[in-house]
Symmetry: none
Subunit: 244 residues, 2 copies
Amino acid sequence: MSAKIRVVLVETSHPGNIGAVARAMKNMGLDGERASLYLVTPRRFPHEDATVRASGAIDLLDGAAVCETLDEALVGTTLVFGASARTRSLPWPIHPPRECAAKIALEPDGSEVALVFGRERSGLTNEELERCNTLLHIPTNPEFSSLNLGAAVQVVAYELLMARGEVHKEAGNVERDSPLASADDIERLFGHFEKTLKDIDFLDPENPRHMMRRLRRLFNRVELEQVEINILRGILTAVDKKVK
Amino acid sequence: MSAKIRVVLVETSHPGNIGAVARAMKNMGLDGERASLYLVTPRRFPHEDATVRASGAIDLLDGAAVCETLDEALVGTTLVFGASARTRSLPWPIHPPRECAAKIALEPDGSEVALVFGRERSGLTNEELERCNTLLHIPTNPEFSSLNLGAAVQVVAYELLMARGEVHKEAGNVERDSPLASADDIERLFGHFEKTLKDIDFLDPENPRHMMRRLRRLFNRVELEQVEINILRGILTAVDKKVK
């Protein structure tokens, strides 16, 4: 079984694309107990175009969770993958779908993994990408790199299907002390970090963003476990007490 | 370079699907000298829907060869792969896209390889499949196996791109801001950590080992860069000042 997959679409403009994603998911076996669809402020949903393009994958559309924010869509997930077409100024670990799928296939049963796909024209914002542990990049023709949303999900879902087939032979497991922290726990850690760093005059209150982005990059990369979040929060709390 | 790819679509009903195929091909670098599109008696072509769904891959549509018969479309090709959704009574070698792509990547320069995709509803006829050297089968959810034509070509074109190996330069590598920190820098960081954590009464002075071991595990896992060491040391120094 491995992890449950949450395909998160952020601000999709064309409902037809939501339908195409649902079809791609179900074609690749990402339905039922195995996966679900989360929609962050879709322009139009439900919509006839989504139903038509889903071509029978109606269960995924009917079961889709419509959320107000990306944060809301990520509550309870452990690993978060963000699809990114562009090379960014800020370096971030970036992986092709096959590697991401291999990693996801090793996640323990019962965990939830999010795959986040951005807007048709502009993808995910830098802020949204900073919520992700890993950037997922689908290799493309550099001169014609803008993938249709359905096509992007198709490729990733296909790799997940292929990886599920192969994982059973290997049966490797990530050794962990404790379960991975959830995305919302990590967000709370960053909130705490930012407050404490301001209190000790380490962050420029006018421009905390740059430094916080670096810390996000560091701590997202490491895939924090719950126990580690508790330790880091404990350290911050100890600092808070001394500063008072 | 390897072989030139000919994507052959047989009796496509919906011109939009021809456009989606063109887009998928060009997205995956199957354009220009590398590939072309052959259409066997398409229901409607050229057509506005094809142009719209091609989303800029107009060169492939403009250069498409429209043929009267499959035979005509296959003239000059060496290997012929036929996409097949169904398990057939007729036993025939059947291969997943990854294997087909690996095989195609080994074809000599200047040879031409055909990938034949059938009708939206009914696929290829047995007669047409018998024209193929190899049946290509994309793994799917057995309960929802009918892939959209664009999605099928997307998956196969993606595997061809991966097999060409152009991917390795691009993906899978963490781009670094700054060089990795040295082992002695990291040791100094842990020394500083231990001192500061004692000062803020977070570490039990009697038994600091257990907690420090957990922090080592965390920060060793992340492969710290020099810049990140500087940031972490900066935070510790800011805490030190406040504690004084």
